[in-house]
Amino acid sequence: MPPDGNAVEIRNLVKRFGEFVAVDHVTLDVGRGEIFGFLGPNGAGKSTTIRILCGLLAPTSGSAQVHGYDVAAQSEQVKQSIGYMSQKFSLYDDLTVEENLDFFSGIYGVPHELRAERKAFALRMAGLEDERASMTRLLAGGWKQRLALGCAILHQPPILFLDEPTSGVDPMARRQFWDLIYAMAEQGTTVFVSTHYMEEAEYCHRLALMYKGRTIALGAPSELKAEHGDGATMNDVFIASIERAEEEGL
């Protein structure tokens, strides 16, 4: 029974690694069915935040709820309600496409009678129907990413966390991947995606700009651009926001 309220609610989230503050009092909400973008340079704290939301890291202070569950106290329930794709490709290279899907089906506890159907769906969605028996090691980059996504949605999670899913993939494959993200969102899945490609920011319903562990801008791409005057691009918004943050002494 899915709890009411936002898909993700983050309140004053802080994560320190020794002296280094990776996430610095981040507060934001993500509504259900949204494609929420996390934009920022490397080291801005995007991955750390996502990893906290997935229950992979414990926050230093503050709180976060995913699908109504507290990430620190109810990580078990959180893990049941999310799909996660990490920055680094992390499926089994020595298993075939189909074996990887079967494995994650089992790990997510998909009931037997639903497995064939879900697998067929994931293969169709990822366009890997003809590659089902291929060794994962031999797949091209874009296909690997789509397979990783396929593995993450077998249990039909209400929320998907994608950590730079398109890094290192050619533009054509990136475009195809975003079509998939739209398809997932249309079915009601909340997608929380991080990226450092400016043009991808435009695809999101709403986004947060991350810089040195803080959110320095938050809103829909059109709103953010409008704030910065006519003809401003996402890039302009980003640079202006960083300059403002630096002036404020960040």
Binding site: K79, S86, F89, D93
Partner: protein, 377 residues
């Protein structure tokens, strides 16, 4: 513990094993290779010792002694008419181990009833073989000497004399004192340790190195499901190795299996389980394959090889090392294996060793399980 997730892990792990044909070949070929190498090479059975004779006398008596050497299956004469130079040269070139020099007054001294001299020159660079060769040669010469003495006494008109003490030796359990009979059961302990600890030590570390652990951590899988799923896959591999070693030992080396096969299987399963858990524990602690591999080599394979009583007898070790062997599980397993194979004894005799194996397996399992929970939290 969720059955579906356990099955998924087990199945995936089995696929890894089958796909990684190098490791699989190693896992299946190692037992055969080790059994063949050790079974044939590590025999402490010495015969056909290459011998050079330097007979300075050339009398009927000395020639008779030479004939005795020739007739014995323990010696093989490579040169009948050598000299000192020849003996040294042959030993230097490892063409001979033993040189026998018969004094030029051999016949004369024997018949004059004083003590005749025979010199033995032995290659001591392999002390084990040397002492065995010396023992055989001395025994042969003593026997001949006793005979000569007896002949003289008979010739002087006394009656036939019996040797005062007649020793009859009967060795229990390994009645031919064949080294393979204790080497093969001992090897099983070493083989299982290699397969179990070395292969599993890589398995968790590999997940960390490839980033797949991160993916697993984002799923509902529990540490114990991961642990037991992996254990189950490697357990089957280990038991297959056990079967191979057993088949080779009994079928090819004709090691007697006098005790219960069921008890043997049970004891092996217990030992294997402990060894597998140890490998996983190391893998979880070190997180890198290289480190895990080295740690398992040092901490499991070497003790199983050296401190288990498999090759080196524990009672011959310094006292402190003897105490150390008490915490080596292979020691108890070797005792169980020898008991079942050679003595045919059962639980009533071996229960202490079995109990230790059980306690060891339980402790290491708890350690591995705790470490997994810590690292995956």
């Amino acid at each position: 513990m969720n059955w579906r997730r356990f099955r998924a892990i087990f199945h995936k792990e089995a696929l890894h094993i089958v796909r990684d044909w190098r490791s699989l070949m190693m896992a299946l070929a190692v037992p055969m290779l080790m059994l063949i190498l050790f079974g044939y090479a590590l025999t402490r059975y010495v015969d056909r010792i290459p011998t050079v004779i330097y007979d300075q006398d050339g009398s009927p008596q000395s020639r008779e002694l030479v004939e005795r050497f020739r007739g014995s299956r323990y010696f093989s004469i490579v040169e009948r008419q050598g000299d000192y130079r020849e003996i040294i040269q042959r030993i230097n070139h490892s063409k001979a181990i033993l040189g026998v020099v018969i004094d030029k007054d051999f016949a004369k001294t024997v018949s004059s009833n004083s003590v005749a001299r025979v010199q033995l020159l032995i290659d001591g660079s392999d002390s084990n073989t040397a002492s065995i060769a010396a023992g055989y040669a001395e025994a042969l010469i003593m026997a001949y000497s006793a005979e000569l003495r007896e002949q003289q006494i008979v010739r002087r008109g006394a009656g036939k004399m019996e040797t005062p003490i007649d020793v009859r030796l009967r060795v229990l359990y390994n009645n031919e004192l064949k080294s393979k009979n204790f080497i093969v059961p001992g090897l099983i302990a070493v083989i299982l340790m290699i397969i179990a600890a070395l292969l599993t030590s890589l398995t968790i570390a590999r997940e960390w190195e490839n980033g797949t652990m991160e993916q697993l951590l984002s799923t509902p899988v529990r540490p114990n499901e991961l642990l037991l799923g992996k254990l189950a896959a490697y357990f089957l591999l280990g038991m297959a190795d056990m079967a191979i070693a057993l088949a080779l030992g009994v079928g090819v080396f004709h090691v007697p299996l006098r005790g219960s096969l069921l008890l043997l299987t049970f004891a092996s399963a217990l030992y294997l389980f402990g060894a597998l858990c140890w490998g996983i524990f190391l893998s979880a602690v070190t997180r890198t394959q290289l480190l895990a591999y080295q740690a398992s080599l040092v901490s499991s394979f070497l003790p199983a090889f050296i401190l288990s009583g498999f090759i080196f007898s524990i009672s011959d070790m310094p006292l402190i090392i003897q105490q150390v062997t008490r915490i080596v599980p292979a020691r108890y397993f070797v005792a169980v294996l020898k008991g079942i194979f050679l003595k045919g004894v059962g639980v009533s005799v071996l229960w202490m060793d079995l109990l230790f194996l059980f306690v060891y397996a339980a402790i290491v399992f708890m350690l591995a399980s705790r470490k997994m929970r810590q690292k995956m939290a």
